[in-house]
């Protein structure tokens, strides 16, 4: 057993354990806490997979942003300090059935696939990946390049004039538009209505 396996074991257990605890807990603040554990350990798994940029983003945006937002939401929407809304036994049984069904389906499908074969098949037919593979462990710079639409990691070895590999310039830019729109929407929903007499403002518009 090497260090990587040990670390994987720890992080995987924490991730799964946190997720199971989220599903079983009824107190919503504790759910948020276990979510932190689960997502934080998942970012550990990302680091193990050499995706340090994704791991750090997960910590910054997911754990440090989204979960804080969730806890903030909990604080604003619970009237008692530690409110529990317990699920009914029927719901619990129903969800347990769903869970068992999904997990068994997983073993029936994804688990029994020969992934080595799948990866090799795709690799054989992928002419671009082999040219300049990601030999180094660092992903920050290639990811940044891909956001600008340039894929030196794939295209440098290709012949001139070939169609370019997928760059992510468009989503990178358009997501900013999405964030703006969403921000406006969320701000609208969350703010109290300002007290302006509509008649007055209406008269000012030609």
């Amino acid at each position: 057993m090497n260090g990587g396996q040990v670390l994987f074991g720890i992080f995987a257990l924490l991730t799964c354990g946190g997720a199971v605890a989220v599903a079983l807990t009824q107190n919503v603040v504790r759910m948020a806490f276990w979510l932190i554990v689960s997502l934080g350990s998942a970012s550990g798994l990302f680091f193990l997979l050499n995706a340090d940029f994704v791991g750090a983003t997960q910590l910054l945006i997911y754990v440090g942003g989204t979960v804080v937002l969730l806890i903030f939401g909990v604080m604003l929407t619970t009237s008692g300090p530690l409110l529990k809304i317990p699920s009914s036994p029927g719901e619990l049984i129903q969800s347990a059935v769903v869970g068992v069904l999904f997990i068994s389906m997983f073993f029936f499908t994804v688990w029994s696939v020969d992934w080595e074969h799948v990866a090799n098949t795709a690799r054989v037919h992928d002419s671009t990946t082999d040219t300049v593979a990601l030999q180094n462990d660092t992903t920050g710079r290639p990811i940044g390049m891909a956001f600008l639409g340039v894929r030196p990691d794939r295209d440098l070895g290709a012949a001139e004039g070939q169609p370019l590999s997928t760059g992510y310039f468009l989503p990178f830019e358009i997501v900013s538009m999405h964030l703006l729109v969403v921000l406006i929407g969320a701000a609208y929903l969350a703010r109290a209505k300002r007290q302006i007499t509509t008649a007055e403002s209406r008269s000012e518009v030609v």
């Binding site: 994987f8 599903a23 969730l70 939401g73 719901e91 997983f106 990866a119």
Partner: protein
């Protein structure tokens, strides 16, 4: 990752997914349901990153995961604003009490 099979990562992802789905179906607190959604999205992210390491998906997997993180944050912002608005109108966040619209 030497010595760890891709399947193990996929298994962790599947556990996250199942827990998320259970959360979505069983929780009555609106924010609890949203927490379940976050778990499901994270399961997909774990898949993406694991695939990016083990299959020719390569860097694209990581990039997709990054976009998913950002989109999930945006979705959570709107969902919380809506939950807050619901609370202001109904003085509860229990989704089972949202039963005025029925037919």
């Amino acid at each position: 990752m030497e010595g760890v099979d891709l399947k193990l990562f996929l298994l962790v992802g599947a556990v996250l997914f199942v827990c998320g789905v259970i959360c979505m179906t069983s929780k009555r607190n609106g924010i609890g349901v949203l927490i379940g959604v976050e778990l499901v999205l994270n399961a997909a992210n774990l898949n993406f990153v694991a695939f990016s390491r083990y299959t020719p998906l390569g860097l694209d997997g990581q990039i997709m995961a990054l976009f998913v993180i950002v989109l999930a944050a945006a979705e959570a912002a709107v969902a919380l604003a809506i939950a807050l608005n619901f609370y202001n109108n109904h003085l509860t966040i229990d989704v089972d009490r949202a039963d005025e619209l029925r037919g």
